[in-house]
């Protein structure tokens, strides 16, 4: 039985007999973002989940500040911080089972690390020693990569393939509010809905695409409202409420896993830092707005709940901080070592086997490097290793 047969093939009917192909009502998001923390529902939240989320968020925040500091020291080419968005990053990783797949956007290093990828390997792209530092198959995390929204169809294809193979695998794909404007967003959601692929799309609406505010990005009531146009449910959630995001994503993952098809989740959050360390946010927004959002900080929200319920003692809080500091210290130490690089790697993986043409170019580079090494050992050492520095 094919995918289409399962769902009953649509046959066009003239308007006298017309009816909507799916009921739109359940697909529409609620008018307000779903929240747990600060509401009565919070009382029912599992204490263990609250503690785990809290520890992971604190660790995540520390990772962000450490990585930003490393850019100042020249150890990273660039870092797009997710400070303020940690609830989304961590919840996305935690909502998945080990066998599932994560498709991050370029900003989602934190989700990648939360999924289990080595914190240093997750930074390879931004450090600049290679494009992807980790084996995507080890933790089932697609490569971090910058072309926006292009990872979304990949997630759909992978989830579809897994389903065709009979594997119980869900893909969670992340994208920013800006990325929703790209054609790839549209095509991915449409394919996912038509194929009923087990995918969850998480849009982090952090208010900006670099300098462009949401009002110049869309006129929609919410980004979650886009879902109905594909025939999938749209869910709106407070992106700074880790418990709420975790719940909404877990529901969507469960739905996908059960054959219910894809879901679009919009998490309303805010990019508290500049776009990257290279950006100057004062050019396009004022402090007041940032301040409003700092008062809705995802870690604060969690801590308030934990403290109110007496779930975070002095010792536990210290342990969380120490764990985060240890991670940061390790990251610093390892990032302060220069990576070992072999320029010949440039030719190693362009094809399964280099073409004759590439073999020629590889030989040229090898000859240059050998000549340079000779010149260096024979003459003054330390004149650099690039072609420019080595001739004479």
């Amino acid at each position: 039985m094919t995918v289409m047969e399962q769902r009953g093939a649509y046959r066009p009917t003239p308007p006298p007999a017309w009816q909507p192909r799916t009921d739109p009502a359940p697909l529409l998001p609620d008018a307000e973002p779903y929240r747990v923390l600060g509401t009565e529902a919070a009382a029912h939240a599992d204490p263990e989940l609250l503690r785990t989320l809290h520890a992971r968020l604190v660790r995540g925040r520390r990772y962000n500040t450490q990585a930003t500091a490393l850019t100042k020291q020249g150890r990273l080419a660039v870092y797009p911080s997710s400070t303020g968005q940690e609830a989304c990053e961590i919840a996305a990783a935690l909502a998945l089972e080990e066998r599932d797949w994560l498709f991050p956007s370029y900003r989602d290093t934190l989700a990648v690390v939360a999924r289990g990828v080595d914190p240093v390997e997750a930074l390879t792209l931004l450090r600049g020693d290679w494009h992807t530092g980790y084996d995507p198959y080890e933790h089932r995390v697609a490569p971090l990569s910058t072309p926006l929204a292009t990872q979304l169809p990949h997630a759909v294809g992978l989830a579809h393939a897994a389903r065709l193979k009979g594997d119980d695998v869900v893909a969670l794909a992340m994208v920013g509010d800006g990325g929703t404007s790209e054609g790839d967003f549209h095509e991915a959601l449409n394919f996912a809905a038509v194929w009923q692929a087990p995918v969850v799309f998480l849009v982090q609406n952090n208010g900006f695409a670099i300098s462009v505010p949401l009002a110049k990005q869309t006129a929609a009531p919410s980004l979650a409202h886009k879902a109905v146009g594909y025939g999938m449910p749209g869910r709106l959630v407070d992106g700074n409420d880790a418990v709420a995001v975790h719940e909404v994503l877990s529901d969507a993952v469960r739905r996908a896993r059960g054959g219910g098809g894809p879901t679009l989740v919009e998490a309303v959050t805010y990019r508290v830092e500049a776009h990257t360390n290279a950006d100057d946010a004062t050019r396009y927004r004022g402090d007041a707005e940032v301040e409003t959002w700092r008062r809705h900080d995802p870690i604060d929200l969690l801590e308030r709940e934990l403290t109110d319920r007496g779930l975070l003692g002095e010792d536990a809080a210290r342990a969380v901080r120490e764990d985060a500091e240890a991670m940061a210290a390790d990251l610093r130490a390892r990032m302060n070592r220069d990576p070992e690089l072999d320029p010949m790697d440039l030719f190693a993986h362009v094809y399964a086997e280099p073409t004759p043409h590439l073999r020629e170019q590889r030989a040229l580079l090898r000859a240059e490097l050998e000549a340079a090494a000779e010149a260096e050992s024979g003459n003054e050492p330390g004149t650099g290793t690039g072609p420019e520095g080595t001739r004479r």
Binding site: T2, V3, M4, E5, W130, H131, T132, D135, P136, Y137, A142, P143, S145, P147, T150, L152, P153, H154, A155, V156, G157, L158, A159, H160, A161, A162, L164, K165, A171, G183, D184, H186, E187, A188, N190, F191, V194, D345, A348, H349, V350, Y351, A352, T355, P356, H357
Partner: protein
Amino acid sequence: MTTVAAKPATMAQALTRALRDAMAADPAVHVLGEDVGALGGVFRVTDGLAKEFGEDRCTDTPLAEAGILGTAVGMAMYGLRPVVEMQFDAFAYPAFEQVVSHVTKMRNRTRGRMPLPLTIRVPYGGGIGGVEHHSDSSEAYYMATPGLHVVTPATVADAYGLLRASIASDDPVVFLEPKRLYWSKDAWNPEEPAPVEPVGRAVVRRSGRSATLITYGPSLAVCMEAAEAARAEGWDLEVVDLRSLVPFDDETVCASVRRTGRAVVVHESGSFGGPGGEIAARVTERCFHHLEAPVLRVAGFDIPYPPPMLERHHLPGVDRILDAVGRLQWEAES
């Protein structure tokens, strides 16, 4: 296996057979594209596949080329071997970002951990009276993108063999199918297809001593005809069919040019920034002292592909090829 005598088959039939055999041999092979299912594709190349292998193996997609290729990337990431059909050359452009930014970069990006064995079939070129946007030769774009193989058959047997090899390749392949050869026929035995070799070898289709015509795909037949006509002028032309633009078979091409000392590259694609520039440049780099004349190019003009009623003025024909051969400075020899 019973031996079936070779009888005429069209290139389209050979391609269908290649897809079918590849799907039968490897359950990871999935075909997807617009109208590839019940219709069998607008050129009927996927005819019967959905019926034989089911709609999950041969899938009609929504109408969105970036989505088709983008989901195929995801399928390949999960270990499938997708074969994507782009309906026409010009309708592959929406998928260009996926080609350049992911299809060709995934293996390298992940140091070989995540290869993308996928084949992108693109019917290409003119000569079929197609209206605007149905006759583009887009090989220059793909050639200039490292990480792809670019393959194009010129004969019925090669259509089968090269498509099988492309699907079997662990690298992504753009497989360019010359539209105007779809209905060309040749004696070919589907039960005993030539052994499937890896792509990358050009072949001498006609031996000659005076000059070499270097060509591929839709222009091979024109070159063979030109070579025949050239005998009247006293020229004995050799014809090389490249079969793949990437990998490029310098060995076969240069061996021929060193023998003849003269060469003309022939293709439909525009000449400016087209394949012929690369070919002429690399042949010249490698054979300079064997050349009696510069390597010339006979190509489509550098204009938007003409409307059907004018396309014959655009396409390289026998006369234009012979004119170019005539300019290969024959006096210099004597």
